[in-house]
């Protein structure tokens, strides 16, 4: 099963790290836990300089509904609220935690081992308490998606195990190594939403993960759906289309199609929060790239600077040309190796100098490849030319706001036109 449009990046680089088991990173001296982890409002810090914190202790409280709690990844002393290079290219506030080396702390929540018979509201409260956010990339607070407004009927829960971004294998390893956690997380999400049979969508290039998950199908009442390999399968709307054949209306949310999509990483974190009573303080990160000495997957604590992750992977074989947080298609290039890992950092990617080529774009030749490649059925060539002429109204009429900036159009464009950047500009202009 798959969706219409999309592309298939050649040489997806997954073989570099897909057979590397997840290893736990050794304890560092300092962690810089970013405050603006989640989409929406950043949480408010509840600790100050000099405070002693235990592992799992709350260090920042959610501010409002679209916000998420933040917990200490290890025990130690708070070094203050400092400014560090942020993942978006501008300095960001972070809580500095100087580790005491003990890494000690009690799970702050009571394990809910009988979750199958417990009130869904209590489970939902656990999602909020544990500070869960979408760990696929957008880091949208998970509980928001679990609170459909009255009148919106949710009948399908899809767990996103597509991991369509090249190079990334964090979700793959998680599903293969910890299928029980993922399946249980899916079932808990299903219980919260009242959905009977949650679906896990996995691309068929992860055959071992599909097999592993299938063993838990009956026990947790889930079903695994193999999907064809295609980018951007891991986008919510494309995944919904691939799994249910439904389409989310223009400008709508997955809820409008009766669906909720959660990442497999989030599901595993929920399983931990419910069964062990621990909040989200670490995640699996793929440290990979053609210049990394030994690419692999590591369980990193939040706030681990990128440089430490690269050191774990044995450093680099040559001068890297680009450092990217996330995958090569939708990830963000970083200017500093000091940028810390956040809840949504699925990969740390180092590419050689040769791959980031400067292209000189000329004019659109109207070949239409971008139209074929667009998973949202837009016409990027038309949008881009309209935007270059400052015709934002024309771009709006042609549904520029539906673009999710997956980059498929720019990937296939033979002229290397900056299609996505133009569209991003128009979206910013139109949001004013």
């Amino acid at each position: 099963m798959t969706f219409s449009g999309g592309i298939h990046p050649v040489g997806d680089g997954k073989e570099l790290s897909c057979h590397q088991a997840v290893r736990t990173a050794p304890l560092l001296e300092k962690y810089f836990v970013l405050l603006a982890e989640n989409a929406g409002k950043p949480p408010v810090p509840v600790v100050k300089k000099g405070d002693k914190v235990k592992k799992y202790q709350l260090i920042a409280r959610a501010d409002g509904f679209v916000s998420a709690n933040l917990h200490a990844p290890t025990s130690g002393e708070v070094g203050g609220i400092v400014e560090v290079p942020g993942p978006m290219g501008v300095p960001a506030a972070a809580v500095e935690i100087i580790a005491d080396g003990e890494d000690a702390g009690e799970p702050p929540f009571e394990p809910l081992l009988n979750w199958e018979s417990i009130d869904p509201e209590i489970l939902k409260q656990r999602v909020i308490d544990a500070g869960l956010v979408g760990m696929g990339g957008a880091s949208f607070p998970s509980h928001v998606k679990l609170s459909p407004p009255p009148g919106k009927e949710i009948d399908t829960l899809i767990l996103n195990g597509a991991e369509c971004e090249p190079y990334l294998t964090a979700d793959h390893r998680l599903m293969f190594e910890k299928p029980e956690k993922v399946a249980r997380g899916a079932a808990i999400f299903g219980r919260i939403l009242g959905v009977r049979r949650p679906v896990i969508g996995v691309e068929i290039n992860k055959g071992d993960a599909i097999e592993a998950l299938e063993r838990f199908e009956d026990r947790f009442g889930i079903s695994v759906v193999p999907l064809l390999v295609r980018y951007p399968q891991g986008s919510e709307k494309q995944l919904i289309n691939a799994v249910t054949k439904r389409a989310v209306r223009s400008g709508g949310l997955p809820m409008d199609a009766g669906c909720v999509v959660q990442n497999v990483g989030t599901a595993a974190a929920l399983s931990d929060a419910v069964m062990k009573g621990i909040p989200l303080v670490e995640r699996i990160v793929t440290v990979t790239g053609d210049v990394v000495f030994s690419p692999g997957n590591w369980k990193l604590k939040l706030g681990t600077p990128a440089i430490e992750a690269v050191k774990l992977a044995g450093g680099v074989t040559e001068e890297p040309g680009k450092l990217i947080f996330g995958g090569p298609m939708m990830g963000f290039a970083q200017k500093s190796f000091e940028v810390p890992v956040a809840k949504n950092t699925s990969g740390i990617l180092l590419l050689p100098t040769g791959v980031s080529v400067n292209y000189e774009a000329s004019g659109c030749i109207r070949c239409g490849r971008c139209v074929q490649g667009c998973p949202m059925n837009l016409m990027p060539c038309l949008l881009s030319t309209a935007i270059e002429a400052d015709r934002f109204d024309l771009a709006y009429q042609n549904h520029v706001m539906d673009c999710m900036e997956c980059g498929s159009c720019a990937y296939v464009c033979p002229d290397h036109r900056p299609l996505v950047q133009n569209i991003r500009r128009a979206k910013a202009e139109l949001r004013k």
Partner: protein
């Protein structure tokens, strides 16, 4: 020869013409749009730049409110004082008085010197500013990709080197550039003020000095010597335009800004040209 057929044709066409003419005349009377001759007159006298500097959608819109007496001719920032006098004379209304403004690009640092990444995207400031906060180290300075220059209806902004400079004699203060600038580097200041502080970054002086030697370091020298004519916001000193402060040449010389941020419009333009010349050599 039988001429009757010609006669019939001529008659038919003639009658048809008269009938249609009458119909048109009736409809013209019926559906006529009453237009104020004063509006047309005002529109004719207005510059027709449609810059929107008056706050209206364009000259036609401004002419309408002008004829209605809601605004005064001086609200048009583009017209010269003679043109304003002509409009007020033609419409028989008071010319009014409005403080003239002009745009100033409060940055004098070339982006090439303070770059943090190799930017090869869309050559537009708004687009560039969205990529990791812009390609330059300073998050407040001019990006130099010319979005303001393209927006200016009067061609008053020139990109010299990689930083925008306003030509004073062409700028009418319509404010289109200031609205287009994603970083708010362009400020509208009273046209009669001569000296400005060419920096827009409220960051700490020491941080700024890492990548930009041209920025205000917030030493307060200007504030100490001239008092309320300058005000500090963060680590950035600014001329206190709101209180009608005008800094004179003598004052500027006595301050002798240690980083050279405090410049007259002419000095800034000259410095920009000299820099480009120097680079070419």
């Amino acid at each position: 020869m039988d001429n009757t057929i010609l006669l019939y044709a001529a008659l038919l066409m003639g009658i048809l013409g008269i009938v249609l003419g009458v119909i048109i005349a009736v409809f013209v009377k019926l559906f006529s749009v009453k237009s104020d001759p004063r509006v047309d007159l005002a529109l004719e006298l207005l510059p027709g730049a449609n810059c929107g500097g008056c706050g209206k959608a364009g000259c036609a819109d401004f002419a309408k409110v002008l004829a209605a007496g809601e605004v005064q001719p001086a609200n048009c920032p583009v017209s010269s004082s003679e043109q304003i006098a002509a409009i007020s004379l033609a419409l028989g209304i008071d010319a009014g008085e409005v403080e003239r403004m002009q745009a100033v690009v409060c940055c004098r640092s070339d982006i090439g010197e303070v770059r943090k990444m190799n930017y090869n995207g869309v050559q537009d400031c708004v687009a560039a500013n969205m990529v990791a906060g812009g390609p330059d180290e300073c998050r407040y300075g001019c990006l130099g990709l010319g979005t303001c220059a393209r927006k200016c209806p009067f061609g008053a902004i020139e990109i010299i080197g990689q930083v925008a400079v306003v030509h004073r004699e062409l700028c009418v203060g319509c404010g289109k550039c200031a609205a287009a600038c994603p970083r708010g580097v362009i400020k509208l200041v009273p046209a009669d003020s001569e000296y400005h502080i060419y920096c827009n970054s409220p960051e700490k002086g020491a941080n700024k000095r890492h990548f930009c030697k041209a920025g205000c370091i917030g030493c307060r020298k200007c504030e100490k010597l001239c008092g309320s004519k300058f005000k500090l916001s963060g680590f950035l000193s600014q001329v206190n335009y709101a209180d009608g402060a005008v800094v004179s040449g003598e004052e500027v010389r006595s301050i002798h800004c240690p980083v050279g941020c405090l410049l007259s419009v002419e000095e800034r333009l000259e410095a920009a040209y000299n820099k480009v010349k120097g680079n070419k050599k």
